[in-house]
């Protein structure tokens, strides 16, 4: 049974790390701009073993060293942060650029909005002349404490560009915050509130699954021309360890990633749940021997095979596992492309089910009349894909999320967070339908 540490989804060797799909090397981009070519291939690049907090620290250090306007701030950030993501940065880059704030999240995010707004470009010049504003990297100590700043994020950050007709923006703002459950966090250190942000047009929301992903996605978020809320799954800070390229690179926002390809069922997830899905898929082929679970799996797969009679299928179903990575705006076309093969969909996350990301995706797949087909041949016809995805479904969509309780209660956490066996049950249910 794979654990997070031994997960096959993590890049345990340098070669695997450097072959990360869609990785964009900063120096290669420079080369392209200059028409030169130095290190654009994978040769000559270094990787180092890092856990997630080290990878995040590495990204912050690159952001600070490549951009003079960048500042990093938040509660307890100067001594390294309660999760060690900013360790040593204050010493390295000085207290003017890496600093503690008073204990006020609305203050932290509001400050970031103001600083970022000073980087708005008006025509060719920066707002306010040669001001130093621009890249504000704020930390909210736990996502559970983002609510005092919700007003700043929704009523200021998300609307900044829109309400000024594109004249001003706070694209330089990134708000980092630890998220999800760890096993003992209780009501105020376990929340997964990304669902609340789904309607926040103008903001982006990103949740990485690993050190390599965290570094590339964080650098992307920092450089993206839109404000980004970057949620870091707490449990992965130490437990997920990967070979991470040491140089400057980004991974694209708005793009999901297929982690394992398959043709019988699409599983969409993100963050910590990625590993639980991997474990559940493992259980599908390796159920605990001699247990009722083994029989349950055998029976369900028998039903699945019978339902596929006449079709040329392998004896075990193959699962397409997708990591969403960017939650807002998320990669619906990729999900639809996958569904055109599998015709079955399971979505898994920790956050509450009602109003959550899973229900949003399920709704988007089903509401095919919401989009007009494109006549532009170079564009993907998402409208048609939506209708076909819905009409092609061979089973109802299943969403496995947290329950609709107001938070994750300490004593009940093991039965709140969708774990591998609950996900296994979902796999079987959707496959055998």
């Amino acid at each position: 049974m794979p654990s997070i540490a031994s997960s096959a989804l993590l890049k345990h060797t340098r070669e695997q790390a450097l072959k990360m799909p869609e990785i964009v090397w900063a120096d290669a981009e420079l080369d392209e701009a200059r028409g030169t070519s130095s290190l654009s291939s994978t040769t000559g690049r270094e990787t180092r073993k890092m856990n997630t907090y080290q990878a995040i620290r590495d990204a912050l250090s690159i952001a600070l060293s490549t951009n003079d306007s960048a500042i990093v701030f938040g509660e307890d950030v100067a001594f390294g942060g309660v999760f060690r993501c900013t360790l040593g940065l204050a010493e390295e880059y000085g207290r003017e650029r890496v600093f503690n704030t008073p204990l006020t999240e609305q203050g932290v995010v509001g400050f970031g909005i103001g600083y970022a707004s000073m980087g708005s470009k008006l025509g060719n010049s920066t707002l306010g002349g040669r001001g130093m504003g621009g890249t504000a990297i704020a930390e909210v100590q736990f996502v559970d404490y983002i609510w005092p700043a919700f007003d700043q994020l929704l009523n200021e950050a998300s609307k900044f560009r829109y309400r000024s007709g594109g004249q001003f923006n706070v694209g330089g703002l990134t708000v980092r915050c630890p998220t999800m459950a760890v096993g003992h966090g209780g009501l105020y250190h376990s929340q997964s509130p990304e669902g609340f942000f789904m309607g926040a047009g103008g903001l982006k929301v990103v949740i990485p699954r690993s050190p390599l992903q965290a570094k590339g996605l964080l650098l992307s978020s920092i450089r993206d021309p839109n404000p980004v809320v970057f949620m870091e799954p707490k449990v992965l800070y130490r437990s997920a360890v990967e070979q991470v390229p040491t140089s400057d690179y980004i991974l694209p926002l708005g793009r999901a990633e297929i982690l394992t390809t398959g043709s019988d069922l699409t599983v969409v997830t993100y963050g910590t749940s990625v590993y639980r899905c991997e474990q559940a898929i493992h259980l599908l082929t390796h159920p605990p021997e001699g247990t009722g679970i083994e029989r349950t799996v055998r029976d369900a797969l028998g039903d699945w095979r019978r339902s596929r009679k006449g079709q040329n299928t392998s004896s075990t179903p193959t699962i397409e596992l997708i990591d969403l990575r960017t939650i807002l705006p998320y990669d619906l076309p990729l999900v639809l492309r996958s569904l055109s093969k599998t015709h079955r969909l399971l979505i898994v996350h920790e956050g509450p089910t009602t109003g959550g990301v899973g229900m949003q995706i399920a709704g988007d797949v089903m509401s095919g009349f919401n989009t007009t087909s494109t006549t532009n041949e170079s564009e993907e016809d998402v409208g048609r894909m939506r209708r076909e995805a819905f009409l092609g479904l061979e089973a109802p969509v299943k969403v496995i999320g947290g329950w609709d309780t107001p938070g994750v209660a300490l004593q009940y956490e093991k039965f709140y967070i969708p774990d591998e066996v609950r996900i296994l049950d979902g796999l079987l249910e959707v496959l055998a339908y």
């Binding site: 001594f79 008073p102 204990l103 006020t104 349950t296 609709d404 209660a409």
Partner: protein
Amino acid sequence: MLRRASSTLRPLINRISSLSTRSLGRLPNTQSPIVSKPHFFNSVTGDSNELIPAFRLIDGTGVPLDGAGLPELDEAFARKLYENMQLLPNLDNILYNVQRQGKISFYMTAQPPLPMTMSRPQGKTNACPGVAYALRRSPERSNSVAACFFGEGAASEGDFHAGLLLASTIPSPVVFIARNNGFAISTPSSEQYHGDGIASRGPGYGIDTIRVDGNDVLAVLAAVREARTRCVEQGRAVLVECMSYRVGHHSTSDDSFAYRARSEVEDRKRIDNPLARFRLFMETRGWWDAQAEEELKTRHRADVLKAFKRAETQSRWELGELFTDIYAGEEPWNIKEQRKELGRLLKKYGEDWEPWRRELQKYKNEGRDLIKE
């Protein structure tokens, strides 16, 4: 500029200025005296070099300061105060170790043992005025006040400012009690605020305020008694800022020597120990001695261990409680559906899936209440 106005405007201006010379004196929304020299200020004491004084009654050896008016206090009450104060370091020591052994997931240290409960950092400061307003409206509780405890870090939240503002503007009897222990996790109070502590904010909201030596239990007692009296009499909030120093780590997740020198903490402990101070005071009165101290420590230790053992062996409530107390009244369909879904899963996997089987044993009924449904 009036004098340079064009001649067509002159008659109008003359009229306005003759009116205003008569009525000008006070400004419309304030009774501020008028001065003709610019006066910037940055102090609530009137003198910008002077800090808000701190109220103290006994010195480091428990001896009352000259002219100190001690609060009324008999032996029984003094002993009770001291015993409660002593309980906190005992709790800290035992539970800290218990957490280290993995028996509990997290513990937040209570030191220094001010005569006040632990503050739950954020949020409550906002709700207190409403609590107090309700008390004011309850005839049988018109003598009661709400007490709101918080740290100097929590006082940076917008909630705090909103709470103070409402408690004075919509007169509500709240005693706000700040424990200024110099740290919010790693952040020293020097990075938490630039003004004169938390106390300086009280007058900004029109609130009677006092700063107290928080390591002097008698000063805290006297100040809070007086605060309570004012609160009841005026029906408005009062703010008490207790100055102290956090000698412990913030919590079991924190190692404070990552951001402050061990020697700083040791020095502080040596210079001023609120327990020793009060104990010396009691000893000079013949209310306490070494034997009483020994007995108390033994008793506290036994009490804490006993309470812990009891808590440890208690099984959890039924697992079905996971879905209760979400709403009052009719339970919505989604909660019903989710409870059933968990029951179905438990029935199917509860015996065979080892992590669940082990976890289920911790609940009363071992999850059968959900399976049955």
